[in-house]
Amino acid sequence: MLKTNFTKITVGKAVIIKEKETQKYQKKNRDYIREEKKFFDVLKKVKKEIDIKIKDESKSKEEKDLLKSSQFILCDENLVEEVVLKIKEGKSLYISVEEVFDKYISAFSDLEDEYFSERANDLYDLKKYLLEKINYKKEKIKTNEEFIAIANNLGISFFDKVELSKLRGIIVERGTYNSHLCILARSYNIPILIKKDALNIIKDGEYIGIDEENKEILLNLSLEDFLKVKEVKAKTQKKLKKEVFTKDNKRVNILANIEDIKILDFKYIEEIEGIGLFRSEYLLKEKILSEDEQFKIYAKLVEVFKNKELTIRTFDIGGDKIFSCLNVDEEECDFLGLRGIRLGLNKLKDLYKTQLKALFRASVYGKIRILFPFVSIFEEIEELKCLIKEIRLELNDAFEEKNIKLGIMIETPTALILADKLAKEVDFFSIGTNDLLQYISATKRTNSSVSYLYSDYNLGFLRSLIYLKEILKNIDIEISVCGDIVLNKHIFFFLMSLGIKKYSVSPYQISKIQGYVEDYSEDKYKEIVEKVRTFSKEEEVKTYLTSIC
């Protein structure tokens, strides 16, 4: 009988992931010029992929720092030269990269400072990433029941090869809890354990458990224990709820933010209330999609979320989201330059028109809400409506007017200040707290020296939201919030007391926010707004909010 707390255990069938025998041996008379070229091609590809990941809004700061370090290492002159030398000696690309990396990994592991052993780990992760790119095999790992993956170590591409809904846990023999693999596992809420000799202890196919708190592996589980854990888990698991209400029975909608159609594989897709934000610019990561290619994607989403809600934001390019295939000048399109709608109505008008046509066509399959980014003046909405008029004519009748709703993001200071005027022109607002905080506090969120100003509790920012509510006093327009700030319970309660009843977060965070909603009571917290209005300093807000929630 298990003695430990059932709720902290994960169980599943052990599936041993073996490192495939890779072609490490070079053939005689290997063409080293070709191997050298392949090396530089792989380097270029990996740098590009990492670049895209760094620009991905949904990634944690932890992961981004790791990725930035990887970029530096990939530019390392010595490392690159050493690999090329080995290739010239006749070794295969795979083995050249492996040997050079292993040399540095072992040199760093030998240094006493813990800082260096962590860097050794970063090198190991990067080595795995590169080697997998060199020997790319796109095989999916097939499983038909819930399983726990066991391996000596795993690369981050592991998550692309498995069915996430069936992966209950991971046990690896090496690495540290700060490795890229662990960071990713945590972001997917998958328990991960590092246990030396795990492969010697666990048999393939055995039913085992992971006690994450005590960092123990539970072997030889009896069927009774196994079923008991699953039963307890099922009851206490924070499943996604289809609807969620506050303590005083007020309904609040929590929707999902997405960047691609991977959401269709999400375990709880049935329970999701809808898509609050589809960041469509990520569709252009690799290349520019044609109208038809885009239409297929939008139509699919419209269909899947037919009886729910679907909001697609038009391409928000610029700032730190500039993809190479778009041919735009980074400086011209920086944070305060041509971005979002400014770019769409200006240099990228054709691309924008194509997207709008594809979105309108998709409306034939069901309801669709189109959201425009970075609006800052009234004239932009007028221009947009002109563009839409053109599109209506060009599409003839190939769209369903009554299925389409138009909205704008409130993320620039002027949009907030002009909210009452803008509200008359559109169907809904979506407050982009990430960017709004940035522009209102006059800080660049990627600049670490001013990160103390880019704070959730920035008083000017919080007050600006109170002003927004006042500006819209006699106007009835739907407002939602999409942005990381929602994860901060204090600020979430503040937003709730402002009367906002719709939020959109990463799918993996929905159940957390649903928990927040259930802890909130309008009656109990209604004075938050008035109280916050009286403060001058961040410290005061923090203390107050911490004391009440």
């Binding site: 930035k68 530096f72 290492i73 010595n78 040199a107 860097r119």
Partner: protein
């Protein structure tokens, strides 16, 4: 060949992030750039070699530059290393 001594002010010395910034700057120049410290010659264009030299705040290093653009390179690298918030 040109060289100049400089004291590292950055609070974290030349750990990975500042080493990376140094490397990125050094790669802009054609000349060979080395950071000499404690009998170690680290290649400024290699993050890992600079990192391995374990240079900390307060350490004095010698920057040696040799090549066509050695004048601009030396000025640029010295200026970079004099920064307090090198990240």
């Amino acid at each position: 060949m040109k060289s100049e001594k400089v004291k590292i002010i950055n609070s974290n010395g030349l750990h990975l992030r500042p080493a990376g910034t140094l490397c990125r700057e050094a790669l802009k120049f054609e000349s060979k750039i080395e950071i000499v410290f404690n009998n170690i010659r680290a290649n400024a264009k290699s993050v890992l070699s600079v990192l391995g030299a374990c240079i900390k705040q307060g350490d004095e290093v010698l920057v040696e530059v040799k090549g066509k653009d050695e004048d601009e390179a030396l000025i640029s690298i010295i200026e970079l290393l004099k920064k307090e918030n090198l990240e």
